[in-house]
């Protein structure tokens, strides 16, 4: 138990370090406004978590700090010039409606960050999908000017990506501050997989699924297969979502085998919806829609474990057909 608690805190530290690195990159491109946004999101999430835990008659522990990393994920999925009030509402939504109503971190159903992003998309879609150009800095309380569509939008609708590989690696293209820094995201993925902080199966499934479909069905006929794979992985927050949302160990199935297929299904569905609708960042929406699949796979894992245990033990345990027993997690 103690080991598990420690593990949760270490996961939070590792993830937060990688997110802070992305925040620093965002500061380099967009200035102090992106840092302020991250700070506000983290502070509001922390405060909301504390209040809601108090209302649930629970104590706040270091494990509950995971809400701050969720907040940083939310801030990195927004344009750095996003209205602070919208960011505040999104963070409150993530902590309360998407997490604590279902019992908090011990009974997670949705990825709070993904649910909050979809919530923002449904309510303030236009504001969420217009970004400042890199190196255009906006003051803390200035009204943003000359906002543009993201490189993902241009890629989805035209099949073109007018950036060099070097610019793509460094994140020097318009888009959400966190999802554009590809080199940093690759480093983060490697670190988090080796530290076992994220589900390797889900991550590999997502990358493999997107890469494979991009290879056989490019967005545009003018693209080579290699370019199609490259651009499909770096746009539409695919890499970012693969690391921080789909591979979130709180949500993804525990066994890597199932997690792989979970990631693969999300990637396949997302890519096909992208091809047919050209919708931006569709992978986040699909990851929320696939929550029942993750839960179904987890239920399957439990049933297999129970069957395995009953095979080993001389007296078989009865399985509850209606699922009326308390959650055994």
């Amino acid at each position: 138990m103690l080991k598990k608690a420690r593990k949760e805190r270490l996961v939070w530290i590792d993830i937060t370090i990688t997110l802070l690195a992305l925040e620093l990159m965002a500061y380099f491109y967009y200035g102090i406004r992106s840092l302020a946004l991250g700070g506000i999101c983290a502070a509001v999430s922390l405060l909301t978590e504390m209040i809601s835990l108090r209302l649930m008659h629970k104590n706040f522990t270091a494990d509950d700090l995971m809400c701050t990393s969720d907040a940083l994920i939310i801030s990195l999925m927004m344009p750095s010039v996003m209205d602070y009030k919208i960011a505040v509402i999104a963070c409150v939504f993530a902590v309360t409606a998407a997490k604590n109503i279902f019992g908090g971190r011990k009974n997670m159903i949705f990825s709070p960050a993904a649910a909050a992003y979809v919530f923002m998309l449904a309510s303030w879609g236009k504001k969420l999908l217009l970004y400042p150009e890199p190196h255009v800095r906006t003051g803390l309380f200035d009204t943003p000017e000359k906002l543009v569509s993201s490189a993902s939008y241009v890629y989805n609708t035209t099949g073109k990506m007018d950036y060099t590989d070097f610019e793509i690696l460094l994140g020097n293209f318009s888009g959400a501050a966190g999802s554009a820094s590809i080199l940093l995201l690759i480093v983060a993925a490697v670190i988090l997989i080796f530290r076992r902080d994220i589900s390797a199966g889900a991550f590999i499934g997502t990358i493999f699924g997107t890469g494979f479909l991009a290879y056989i069905m490019p967005v545009s006929a003018s693209l080579t297969a290699a370019d199609s794979v490259k651009y499909s992985l770096v746009t539409n927050m695919v890499l970012f979502a693969a690391i921080y949302i789909i591979s979130d160990k709180r949500i993804a199935p525990q066994r890597e085998y199932y997690a792989f297929f979970y990631g693969l299904f999300i990637a396949v569905f997302s890519y096909i919806v992208l091809l047919t609708t050209a919708k931006e960042n569709v992978i986040i929406i699909i990851s929320v829609l696939f929550t029942p699949v993750a839960l179904g796979l987890k239920n399957l894992e439990k049933k297999i474990e129970l069957a395995y245990e009953s095979d080993l033990s001389p007296e078989p345990e009865s399985d509850d057909a209606d699922g009326k027993e308390a959650d055994s997690e």
Partner: protein, 190 residues
């Protein structure tokens, strides 16, 4: 690829997730996972046969008497209700005792009646829809939508009723929020 597109279309046209039709029935049936899936199946039977009946009613009913549509649909569902109960009774008494509750729940509710009115609304806006095949297909689609929503709820059933959920939100309230977030994702996908 087409299958995935069809699946997304089924989600986008889902009457529960997009119009909340049949939500009460879904929750009434949600007292166990087995009930939920059986009710979903019976509702599908009602929506399909009800839609077929609604087609003939819509064809025969003059527009100036449209206020009578509800009465006709109700009579139609009432007839189906009696037929299904009688058929079950004559097939097997044991099955009748076991399964009649599903028929009781599935007959008069927003899922079935809402499907009929939604189909009628569609046919009123698009004359090419006014044929038996389209009506039956739309009824089947609505039924599948209900089954899909049941499966979505079934997957989270244990977590939504877990002792870890605060007592005030355990069960129905958590189910509503859960369906709301899934419905939100469907909305952004449209």
């Amino acid at each position: 690829m087409f299958l995935i597109n069809d699946f997304i279309a089924l989600l986008a046209a889902n009457l529960i997730l997009t119009q909340a039709l049949g939500t009460s029935t879904l929750f009434i049936a949600a007292n166990s996972r087995r009930n939920l899936l059986r009710t979903a199946f019976v509702i599908t039977v009602f929506t399909v046969f009800g839609s077929i009946g609604a087609y003939f009613a819509d064809r025969l009913l003059p527009e100036k008497y449209s206020d009578l549509r509800l009465l006709i649909y109700t009579a139609l569902i009432g007839i189906l209700y009696v037929i299904f109960l009688s058929a079950l009774f004559f097939i097997s008494r044991e099955k009748f005792e076991k399964s009649r509750k599903y028929i009781h729940i599935s007959a008069f509710n927003c899922a079935v009646m809402g499907t009929l009115f939604t189909i009628n609304h569609r046919a009123a806006g698009d004359s090419s829809f006014m044929n038996l095949k389209s009506y039956a297909a739309a009824g089947l689609e609505a039924g599948f939508g209900f089954i899909l929503a049941s499966l979505i709820l079934t997957a989270a059933y244990r977590k939504l009723n877990s002792a870890k959920v605060p007592a005030s939100f355990r069960g129905f309230p958590a189910m509503l929020v859960y369906l709301g977030i899934i419905s939100m994702a469907v909305y952004t996908l449209k």
